[in-house]
Symmetry: C2
Subunit: 292 residues, 2 copies
Amino acid sequence: MAARRHFGSIPGIAVGALFASRADVAAAGVHRPRIAGISGAAAEGADSIVLNGGYEDDEDRGDEVTYTGHGGNEPETGRQIAHQALHAGNRALAKNCLDGLPVRVVRGWREPSGYGPPTGFRYDGLYRVVRHWSEVGQSGFRIWRFRLERDDPSAPPWEFSGTSARESQSEYRPEHVVQRLVRNSAVIQHVKDLHQYRCQICGIRLETPGGPYAQGAHIRPLDRPHNGPDEPANVLCLCPNDHVLLETGALVIRDDLTVIERPSSRPLGQLRTVRGHNVSIGELAYHRRMFT
Amino acid sequence: MAARRHFGSIPGIAVGALFASRADVAAAGVHRPRIAGISGAAAEGADSIVLNGGYEDDEDRGDEVTYTGHGGNEPETGRQIAHQALHAGNRALAKNCLDGLPVRVVRGWREPSGYGPPTGFRYDGLYRVVRHWSEVGQSGFRIWRFRLERDDPSAPPWEFSGTSARESQSEYRPEHVVQRLVRNSAVIQHVKDLHQYRCQICGIRLETPGGPYAQGAHIRPLDRPHNGPDEPANVLCLCPNDHVLLETGALVIRDDLTVIERPSSRPLGQLRTVRGHNVSIGELAYHRRMFT
């Protein structure tokens, strides 16, 4: 049986770690395939990618990368000779985008951007896939594109190794403040999988070309001063609309799992449940106390 | 006519700026009220607050603050003697939370946490209101609470001034990666106001105890390589569910403003419009090219 795909950093492998060859990168567990640029599966997401100049349409600015999906290019030249589809590794990266899964990024010496290592391969940390779309590339064929943003607590290697001149940070725009930030975790992913992305309050399942979309909502918030547990019994699988309503106290849930609209106290129906996912009555009571 | 409330930093006032008195803080435009801890209005949001030991239930950890709303406390002692309501300044802070508006934070010398200045008042930068809820405080009365997180490009003053021992940063939890981040801007706020928070695709208006909730969606993304304009004609007012569907290409919009489900090509209806908000046909076409 294959080991479960590991998302996130590899214990013992620091950002900036250098490898002489793809075989060494694979042996360390940083990027397991020897040839493919994307390590992933459509149903699981992508745990790592390699940037090594394989695609003419890639755009690498260090912290921000526009990555081209795979398929349709000539391995010898990197030239695009056919359309790409939202399948296989491309679909895996779309799942990262939908579910908020991190992807490890490795750069190789062939990377033309100046952000790669002078020789061999280097682990550059975790990135988020913040957007995916398609477009007609330089050679006239449809390609899938993924905007990656670096999201790693360690400084990027090109800052401390001095291997490359770095462009100025993408500017901070104070007028563009965060309105809403939704986090993911292994526990949330598990609960979304159990419910197959169907909202436990309204029953909707949002379908997108890259796969279904849902959010995991902690009933008792994780952050201080609530310090709710990161356990399945404290997580609901919700559509984004019902997530907002739960988080703001526009909805509360009774011990008998009736969903109640506030302040009208109108019952909206029963919370949907599935075998294998018990919802904590204690945390539901904590949430009610936050708003009543 | 009163000047429009200004959200964000004050030009010329750096993080760490010191003031001898509340009158000086007010004269600089950093926090205009001379006595009140919250500068804001229910319909507009809160542009600034002062942390100065006024509430027994406040919890100040520097970058993270649990702030107590106003009302029901004895000014002389700070003791809570009645319930608080989600009105006035409290409702203003809830609007910050719903709309992603930043709030300037000023700390005074009375602040007992150790993060305040030794004398006078200090501007400590911009914070986000990430959550609001109520609870029964130390004195047995209901109080409103706001979790603030610092979101400012400048280092916090307690790091560079050495006025206080700083606790370790809140830990980075790699398993809790960002799943979805929704930004706000003055343009987005304007479009949401024009539509009174009603979704232009499905017509829903999400009602929460703190006010209505909607998101602004850029039709052509702002970020590279799209570089869409931050203008009302490139923004739609959407519920979170339809925002996800638009951003992932599960929906596209025709030049005649028919909303089309993908990949079925089923028409879902007409985009809702209001006087004073023209939607750019060119940007709708750009969005269609991203997904078809």
